[in-house]
């Protein structure tokens, strides 16, 4: 990467692309709120629709590439940034000048990466290669896999923690990405800021509530 600005432009582009992916993914997950019998059929039908659609396959590959690119680039840039200060301050108060989550995007991202691996094992791997039954509509019963996964308290807790990490990652990330692209909202600065916060908090909270809801309500 030649220029530091080019590096952060790629970081922002992959980050915002992943945000788009989050919206699509969230739309699918929200179907888990539907009442049980037809919710199950609809969720499994939707999963089948996605996994059999070639366009979605391409989008899926782009998402993997996006996550990989985002993570590898973040490592390269963070290493370069660290190298710019070889002697640390003996006494420093960074908390007076910037929020903690803005300074720890790499750690929050690493939590997300670990979460993604576990998440892929539980659902993606099981759906494609696990011993999964078939629902009354004739589709592979991913819904049952979801219920079984969120039958365990620690697994629900893991999701809530990971989504909190994502909330903070996006709380800084969304606004930062727009700034990186040179977006200067001026008159709408406050509105733009609130939209960024609303996206980060809203998307993460909805993702986090689903496992809790499944654990408390849908399992029975």
């Amino acid at each position: 990467m030649q220029s530091s600005i080019a590096g952060k432009l790629w970081m922002a582009a992959t980050g915002l692309f992943l945000c788009l992916f989050l919206l699509v993914h969230l739309f699918g997950n929200l179907q888990l709120f539907l009442p049980r019998p037809q919710g199950q059929l609809q969720f499994n039908f939707y999963s089948h629709l996605l996994s059999s659609n070639p366009l979605i396959k391409i989008a899926g590959l782009a998402t993997y590439a996006g996550i990989l690119g985002h993570a590898v680039l973040s490592l390269l840039l963070t290493r370069r940034n660290r190298a710019a200060r070889s002697v640390p301050y003996a006494y420093s108060r960074p908390q007076d000048a910037s929020p903690w989550y803005a300074r720890n995007m790499g750690i929050l991202g690493t939590v997300l990466l670990i979460f993604l691996v576990i998440h892929m094992k539980t659902f993606w791997y099981e759906y494609h290669w696990g011993a999964v039954g078939v629902d009354s509509g004739g589709h592979r019963d991913l819904y049952a896999v979801v219920l079984a996964a969120f039958d365990r308290e620690w697994y629900v807790a893991l999701y809530v923690v990971a989504m909190a990490a994502m909330g903070y990652h996006l709380l800084h990330g969304v606004e930062s990405a727009f700034r990186t692209f040179g977006f200067q909202p001026r008159r709408f600065a406050r509105l733009a800021h609130r939209l960024g916060v609303a996206f980060a908090v809203g998307v993460s909270a909805l993702f986090a509530i689903i496992p809790v809801y499944v654990y408390l309500v849908q399992r029975w």
């Binding site: 600005i5 200060r85 960074p94 000048a97 910037s98 040179g182």
Partner: protein, 249 residues
């Protein structure tokens, strides 16, 4: 006031440095921090020790040479001021005050608290200027400038090149300084002509000097003694995108 100090001492660019303890008694709260260091240096000299080297010139917040890291923050615990504008009344009686030079590899320590900020000069030489002689302030109506643009350019022009932005940044990024220059000149008609070359040149030089990259944490804006806004970083990014994608060669 009675005060304790922990101050970075380093004999030369290659020497290993260390934090050293000092104590001062009977300091007036109305003295500035630099005056307090002057008093400390007189004591050191009287005792046959070497004085603490620190940079300063105007002592009124306009030259930008006096920057140092005081109690964990650039230019000390207040905002919107330089080190030379910091007075002892901002500290508690009996406090221990930490004083260190900027920790940015692109600003190597020359001695004690003095760093070499010529990296900023080389960034300016790489495009932070207008090539033709723009002369003295022109007659008010000869070159019309939108008022909003004039205000923004003026906000950027307030930068005094102190280096606090890079010093506080977790990435040691000099983006706020470079953005202030790029934004200031590209907002005005005399500078607009060279906007493409300016953003390319200064950003390339900023990277070549070894500053880190910006991640928009906002620490620079919070600690800048002139409150230069991060909006200028966004504007510089946009100038960079335009120069990369849309400018004719």
């Amino acid at each position: 006031m009675d005060l304790k100090f922990k101050i970075w001492r380093q004999d030369g660019p290659e020497a290993a440095g260390r934090m050293e303890d000092y104590e001062l008694t009977g300091i007036s709260p109305d003295m500035s921090l630099l005056e307090t260091l002057d008093v400390l240096n007189e004591q050191l000299i009287a005792n046959g020790e070497t004085a603490i080297a620190f940079d300063h010139d105007c002592r009124e917040g306009i030259c930008g040479t006096c920057g140092m890291f005081i109690d964990g923050r650039p230019h000390g615990p207040l905002t919107g001021i330089t080190t030379c504008q910091l007075h002892m009344r901002s500290f508690e009686d009996g406090a221990t005050i930490h004083v260190e030079p900027w920790r940015v590899d692109a600003f190597p320590v020359i001695r004690d608290l003095v760093v070499d900020r010529s990296a900023f000069d080389r960034v300016i030489q790489a495009g932070g200027f207008v090539s033709v002689n723009a002369g003295t302030a022109p007659e008010a109506n000869s070159i019309p400038v939108r008022r909003a643009d004039a205000e923004r350019a003026f906000d950027a022009a307030a930068c005094i090149g102190c280096g606090a932005c890079a010093a506080v940044c977790k990435n040691s990024s000099a983006m706020l300084f470079v953005a202030a220059k790029v934004s200031h000149l590209s907002l005005l008609p005399q500078g607009r002509v060279e906007a493409v070359e300016r953003v390319r040149g200064t950003v390339a030089q900023m990277d070549a000097e070894g500053f880190g990259g910006c991640t928009n944490t906002g620490a620079c804006e919070a600690e800048c003694p002139k409150h230069v806004s991060m909006e200028h970083i966004a504007r510089m990014n946009w100038e960079f995108v335009k120069a990369t994608l849309f400018s004719r060669e």
